[in-house]
Structure formats: C-alpha cells, structure tokens
Symmetry: C2
Subunit: 172 residues, 2 copies
C-alpha cells in the first residue's frame, strides 16, 4: 500500500507534478510517524472527550487543568499552568473562571508575590477529579487492553525519548 506509485499521467498541471509526486510518494519516515501519532491520539482523544462530556459535562482542557493541580498539592500559579498546559495566559484565566464558578478550584493569593495567584483544587474539585480520573483510567485501560504489556512499555519508552527530542528541537 505504501509504495504503489500510481504513475498518474502527467496530463494536468505540468509544473507541479514533480512536487506533488514527491509529496504523495516520498513521505519520509518522520512524516509517516507524525501522522500516525496524530491519528492515534485523535482517535483516543475523541473518545475520551465524548465520555468526559457525556459523563461529567466537562472537557479535556478542564480535565487537564485539574490534573495538573492534583499533582501539585500547593497549587500552581497561573503562569505555571499556562506553561504546563501549553496554552496562553488568557486561556488559563478563562478555564479557571469556569472551574471556579463550579466550585472545583479556588484562587488563593500567593504569599510571596502579591501579583501572583495560586490556583488550587477545592475539596469538591479533588473529589470530582478523583471520580473522573478513575473512570478515565478505565476507559483508557479498555482501549489499550489488547496490547501486551511489553509493547506498552516499549512504546512508552520510545515516546518518552521522542518527547525529549522534540522539546529540545522546539526550544531553539
């Protein structure tokens, strides 16, 4: 399926054929890898997003924000959330607003820097996140059930390495 060069007659656009052919047939391993990565992730993400919506009336970014907080008992500053979630500051404000309205997180003044705020999970937020995380975990376990553990470990290790590489490459 991969190398089936379809010898398309060059009747249409004479100038662009070369580049088009190249794009179509000469996908490098890197590109193929990226597309596969994206496809995998989208598939799972769609599934998770749907369930998050129908089961908890929440979204992936919101879940993500809470997950960050769950791992940071002292709370996180807005800017730190922004960095970890890889979105801009205005965004974090918006998502935090919604979560705060629902009573799941709280903004607390930072002792050391009066410009800063620390966002923390409330007790209710912690509880709800626990419920979501448990279900979330079950969904994921179900999705990955067929893959043997050894391969999962292998995959996780490779992804870890890739992440390091990409992080280095993007920081330039």
């Amino acid at each position: 399926m991969a190398a089936k060069r379809k010898s398309n007659p060059a009747r249409a656009v004479s100038q662009t054929i070369d580049s088009e052919t190249r794009v179509r047939d000469d996908h490098h391993q890197s590109l193929r890898l990226w597309l596969r990565l994206l496809a995998c992730t989208s598939l799972i993400e769609n599934h998770v997003r749907q369930r998050l919506q129908s089961g908890f009336a929440t979204t992936l970014p919101r879940f993500d924000l809470m997950a960050q907080l769950e791992r940071a008992p002292g709370g996180l500053k807005m800017g730190e959330l922004s960095r970890r979630m890889m979105v801009t500051g205005g965004n974090v404000t918006g998502i935090t607003d919604l979560l705060e309205e629902e009573g799941l997180v709280a903004r607390v003044a930072d002792a050391a820097d009066r410009r800063a705020l620390r966002v923390k999970l409330t007790a209710e937020g912690r509880q709800q996140f626990g419920r979501m995380a448990r279900e979330h975990e079950q969904w994921v376990i179900g999705l990955f059930a067929e893959m043997p553990l050894k391969k999962k470990e292998q995959l996780a290790a490779l992804l870890s390495e890739l992440k390091q590489n990409v992080a280095r490459a993007t920081s330039d």
Copy 2:
C-alpha cells in the same frame, strides 16, 4: 515494576485519601502511555499549528482536509471527509466553505448521486498544499531528527498496532 496491578483493597472510601492516593500513585501503564502520547502529540501539534498559522495563515483542520483530498484524486464526498477527519458533517461544511472561498477546493456534483457533492482540490489548492506539505515535512523532520531511524520504525509499527486496537475497541 510495571505489572504491579495493585487491585487496591478499595475499602469503603470514608475520606478521599484512598482514591487520591490511588490516582496519584497507581497509574497503570495504560494511563501513563496515554498521557505520554498526548503530551508528545500536543507538543508537536502546537508547533505545527503555529507555523501553519504564521507561514500560511491556515489551520490544522484545513490542512488535514486538504491532505485527505490530495490523496484522493477523484475528490471525496462530504460524508467521507467527515468520517476520515473524525468530525461531524456541519463542521466539514464550514471548513469546506472557507477553503472554497479561498479558491483552494471546489464542490463538484456527484454523477451517481444527485444528493452528494464531491470536494476536490483546485489547481491552486494542489499547489498551495504542495508548498505547505513540503514545509510541514521539513518541520517534522527537524523535530524528529535526533531519533535514529530504527527507533522511528519501531515506534511507527507500535503506533500502527495501537491504532488498530483502539479502533476495534471504540467501534463496540
């Protein structure tokens, strides 16, 4: 150290401590894998999205739609695009509208079914997609440059398997 399925005694949870601890400490390999997958993809996706925006004033969904068409010389019906892009029909209409306004794709009546439309790349669309795809490929090659080819192949193979598994699991 991975196969330690901690089938937690799951005592009646009078406090939330048990569940919190479980969530924090007992991440199964599947969950860890999923989070790593998501992190990797987001990292790359953010990068690509930014460049797509600054370099071509376009977005990932638009690029995706064009990529689908580029691989389907006869064009694709709206419904097929919807399935392949994993979004709903109304969405495809919107994205197609924008691309059509820019002259990059065209809607063509389907010969066999008068309800249906086939979306095709225009000559200009094909050309622009070629430019984008070439740059896109270079970005990706740059991001993945540090990983040896062998590992990329391994990773691609594992992802391929995972995708099959997930597709089967989500179709139930």
